[in-house]
Amino acid sequence: MKLLSRAEVDELAHLARLAIDDGTRERLRGELGAILEHVAMLGEVDTAGVEPMTHAVAMTLRLRDDVPGPTLPVEVATGGAAVVADGGFVVPAVIRE
């Protein structure tokens, strides 16, 4: 069975912003390897000249008129956040002195 390397799993976890522990990393090496091995059978299909399907129903996406409408009040829009101050979302310091 295909195993991803630890470095590959770590790279994916970094790209996806997922902190994983050593046990999870080891488990994912085999699980992801098995899934990727299975989906590799897609390569058997001759898709030359086939337009990729990106949407289930052929349609032109509508654009709304550019007119301001009602929006959520700030305190409601921020109401689900863990840390809020002065009507804004609080994040850790991005720029250090």
Partner: protein, 491 residues
């Protein structure tokens, strides 16, 4: 006193409109049913007793004032936890949304309420709708009411189990790769996955946006048709919702199948198909033929590639959609992170369950530079070929008949590897890839009493043919029974 919870949604709404029953009495009966059954079943993640009673009282007050009542007046409904409900805790069965109270209703929920439905609470599911058993929940797994030691199917596990034991008169689920139809079959109820775009996805917590659809699970085909009529239709808030006339499904129910051509795709009837499932399909075939349909063998040659295409496309979209859970704007947030990157990574690593992490990682793999063409683009091309297969079949037939899942409900914990679980979706996910409507309808049971279902798939926007054919099967096999209570196998 009669058992109100045994009645169909169609009957309950008619009774409320005619003044034969009060919405409040119906709601209280269903709240009692939840209290009696849900300790063992675990269908609900949240029950909104006060909100439900207030909504029922509002229906009764409207009737007392002589106002016209909606088509679902006084019908108690349950809503899958990936569909947002205003001020009613909605978590997608994930720790990362623990305690979240959305500031708005999904369009489908708003339309149910406007039609007079009473929201009882939120129904359990696999986390972010990723799973086929209901076991991938951060909170609780749901039991199959027909056998508590078996899974109810997934990901709309609570929606199907609640219908089977009638702790709701109607439920909403979502279907990205079979998540309405497969649990409906496992639990012996009707499940309708609408054409992609038929129902607004506004307020459906996104998993794979090009595949996700909201749809009803119900006791009868007529109830499912009624529910879809209510929730379907253009929504300016969902750019993918289709601008098509509201489907006249209930009016089409009685038109039968005489003169219809119904395809039997040979790829859906492999030699190793479970004999009970094969027998259910054979039974449905005979019923439809007796009712005047012509059964035609058809081929959908790319069927075997639907599974790998799905497990590239859906994780890719999931990896993108779930990027929004960053610990900042809503939901859980890691404590004392060293910096912004640590806040993101720890919040997500601590907040997501194992299956969600797997799919995000797969999606990240297939989208990254270097593997995009070999995986993602190839999968989108295969998707086009899957759709082309159906288009060719629908030039010959009006709909196709197939199994829903390869087996009946299996024991809890019986899918040891992710791929084992993914393979359970093999007969349902082509319908999502192609954007077609699909209906799961009960069709008999195994010798041990486990429900069996069959699936009808149709042309885009032709849910009416599926409902008409589904009702023919339902009438011939008798209405799907409620799961026995107390359940079999209980002490």
């Amino acid at each position: 006193m009669d058992d109100v919870t045994a009645l169909t949604a169609t009957t309950l709404a008619a009774d409320v409109r005619a003044g034969r029953r009060s919405a409040r009495a119906i709601t209280d009966a269903f709240l009692d049913r939840i209290a009696a059954t849900d300790g063992a079943i675990g269908a609900y993640l949240a029950v909104d007793v006060d909100g439900a009673r207030a909504a029922a009282d509002a229906v009764d007050a409207a009737r007392a004032r002589g106002e016209a009542l909606g088509p679902l007046a006084g019908v108690p409904v349950g809503v899958k936890d990936v569909i947002v409900t205003r001020d009613l805790v909605t978590t997608a069965a994930s720790k990362i949304l623990a305690g979240w109270r959305p500031p708005y209703d999904a369009t489908a929920v708003a339309r149910l309420r406007a039609a007079g439905a009473v929201v009882l609470g939120k129904l359990g599911c696999d986390e972010f709708a990723m799973g086929s058993t209901g076991e991938q929940s951060a909170w609780r797994a749901t039991a199959n009411p027909w056998d508590l030691a078996r899974v109810p199917g997934g990901s709309s596990s609570g929606s199907a189990a609640a219908m089977a034991v009638r702790s709701a008169a109607l439920t909403l689920g979502t279907d990205t790769g079979g998540s309405i139809r497969q649990p409906a079959a496992f639990c012996g109820v009707v499940g309708l996955k609408p054409t992609y775009g038929r129902v607004s996805r506004w307020g459906a917590i996104a998993y794979a946006s090009s595949l996700d659809q909201i749809g009803p699970l119900a006791a009868t085909v007529a109830d499912a048709a009624l529910a879809l009529e209510v929730i379907a239709g253009l929504d300016p808030r969902d750019a993918t919702s289709i601008d098509a006339p509201a489907p006249a499904l209930t009016a089409a129910l009685d038109r039968g199948v005489r003169g219809l051509r119904i395809g039997l795709p040979r790829e859906y009837l492999p030699d190793d198909l479970d004999p009970d499932v094969a027998a259910a399909v054979a039974r449905a075939r005979a019923i439809l033929a007796d009712a005047g349909a012509t059964i035609v063998d058809v081929s959908l040659p790319h069927t075997r590639y639907a599974l790998p295409a799905y497990y590239v496309i859906a994780p890719a979209e999931a990896a993108s959609n779930l990027a929004r859970y960053d610990g900042i704007r809503f939901g859980a947030r890691a404590k004392d992170p060293a910096d912004l990157d640590a806040l993101y990574a720890r919040t997500r690593g601590e907040g997501f369950g194992a299956e969600v992490i797997r799919r995000i990682m797969i999606g990240t793999y297939v989208l990254r530079a270097g593997s995009y063409d070999a995986y993602y683009r190839q999968a989108q091309q295969v998707r086009a070929l899957v759709r082309r297969d159906f288009d060719r079949a629908f030039a010959e037939v009006d709909c196709v008949l197939a199994p829903v899942a390869p087996t009946p409900a299996w024991p809890t914990g019986a899918t040891p590897t992710p791929l084992d679980m993914y393979r359970a979706d093999v007969f349902t996910l082509a319908c999502n890839l192609a954007g077609l409507p699909g209906l799961a309808v009960p069709c008999g049971a195994t010798a041990a009493g486990l429900p069996l279902g069959v699936q009808l798939m149709g042309r885009p926007l032709d849910e009416a043919t599926l409902c008409a054919a589904g009702q023919v099967i339902e009438r011939a096999t008798g209405p799907a029974p409620r799961a026995p209570w107390p359940p079999r196998g209980a002490a």
